[in-house]
C-alpha cells in the first residue's frame, strides 16, 4: 500500500528523524508532509489528504491534544488516523490522547520497529 504521511512536530530535527525511520522501515511512502504545529497541520490537511498523521504533543500555537479535538470535530478529517509520538509517556497522558481519538501512542525515544508496529496497527484498524 502506498502511504501518504504527515509528520507534525515543532522540532525540524525530530521530523526528519521520524521521516527517515519510516522510509527505512520498508513501508511504501509516496509522500511525507511536515507541519510544525497543530494549526499548520489542520491547514495542510484541508488541502491534501494523507493516510496517517504522526503528531507530537508539546508544540507552540496548537498542541497535539487540541489537534486531536479539532480533527474529531471535522467531518472531513475525523477518519484520518493519528499516532501520537511524544516524550511524555505517563499513563495519564497516554490515556487522555487515546480517549481523544489517537489510534496509537509511541513514546520518544523509540526503537524503529516500535514506530513501524504502531503505524501498521493504526493503518490496519482504519483500512481493514
Amino acid at each position: 500500500m502506498s502511504l501518504r504521511i504527515m509528520i507534525v512536530d515543532d522540532s525540524p530535527a525530530m521530523r526528519s528523524f521520524i521521516g527517515r525511520i519510516i522510509q527505512l522501515s520498508g513501508l511504501d511512502v509516496v509522500s511525507c508532509v511536515h507541519a510544525s504545529n497543530g494549526m499548520e497541520a489542520l491547514t495542510l490537511l484541508r488541502k491534501q489528504r494523507v493516510d496517517i498523521v504522526l503528531s507530537d504533543i508539546n508544540m507552540p500555537i496548537m498542541d497535539g491534544e487540541q489537534l486531536l479535538r479539532e480533527l474529531a470535530n471535522d467531518a472531513e478529517l475525523t477518519s484520518v488516523p493519528v499516532v501520537v509520538v511524544s516524550t511524555d509517556s505517563t499513563d495519564s497522558r497516554r490515556t487522555r490522547m487515546l480517549e481523544l481519538g489517537a489510534k496509537g501512542y509511541v513514546r520518544k525515544p523509540f526503537a524503529p520497529e516500535t514506530l513501524r508496529y504502531e503505524l501498521e496497527m493504526a493503518l490496519g484498524e482504519t483500512h481493514g
Binding site: 525540524p12 516524550t87 505517563t90
Partner: protein
C-alpha cells in the same frame, strides 16, 4: 521514600534513559559510567526546567565532538553537512527525550510540563542539589544532572 532512595533511583533512571535514547535514536554507544567528564575537550550544554508532580531542572553537557557525531547520526547526514544550529537542535532534543523519559519513569501516573530546552554556556555549572551521572561514550563523554523536587 527517603532522599537517598530517591537519589539512587534517579541515578539508575538517568543511566537507563541516556543509554536507551542514545542507542535507539542516535545509534551511538554508551560505554559505561565515569567519575568526571574527560578533561580537555570543548563542550556544549543544554538545560530545561519542568513542573508538575515534581519541579526541577535538567542539565546535560556533552563533549563537542560527541555532540557533532550524535547530531549527524540522528539526522542521517555527514558531520560536515550539519550546521551548528542543527547540531544544537539535536542536543536540545536529546535533553528533552532523556528528561522526559526519566520523569515518566519516576512517576508513571504523574503529570509534567517540560520547558523548551535551551543551549547554555558551554561550561555552565550544573545545578547544585542535583543527582549527577557521567558516561563515557563511543566518542567523548556526557554528563547529566537532575535537580528534582517532589511536589510538597
Amino acid at each position: 521514600m527517603d532522599n537517598v532512595a530517591v537519589c539512587v533511583e534517579l541515578e539508575a533512571m538517568l543511566e537507563a534513559a541516556t543509554s536507551y535514547t542514545l542507542e535507539t535514536m542516535c545509534f551511538f554507544g554508551v560505554m559505561g559510567p565515569l567519575e568526571e567528564m574527560p578533561a580537555g575537550e570543548e563542550r556544549i550544554s543544554a538545560r530545561l526546567t519542568f513542573r508538575g508532580d515534581a519541579n526541577g531542572v535538567f542539565h546535560t553537557m556533552l563533549d563537542l565532538s560527541a555532540a557533532w557525531a550524535i547530531a549527524a547520526n540522528f539526522l542521517g547526514e555527514e558531520v560536515a553537512d550539519v550546521s551548528r544550529s542543527r547540531m544544537e537542535a539535536v542536543v536540545c532534543e536529546l535533553a528533552n527525550m532523556i528528561c522526559g523519559s526519566v520523569l515518566s519513569n519516576y512517576k508513571k501516573d504523574g503529570h509534567f510540563e517540560l520547558s523548551s530546552p535551551e543551549i547554555t554556556g558551554a561550561e555552565e555549572a550544573q545545578p547544585d542539589q542535583a543527582v549527577r551521572r557521567v558516561f563515557e561514550l563511543e566518542m567523548g563523554g556526557i554528563a547529566l544532572a537532575m535537580d528534582l523536587r517532589p511536589k510538597p
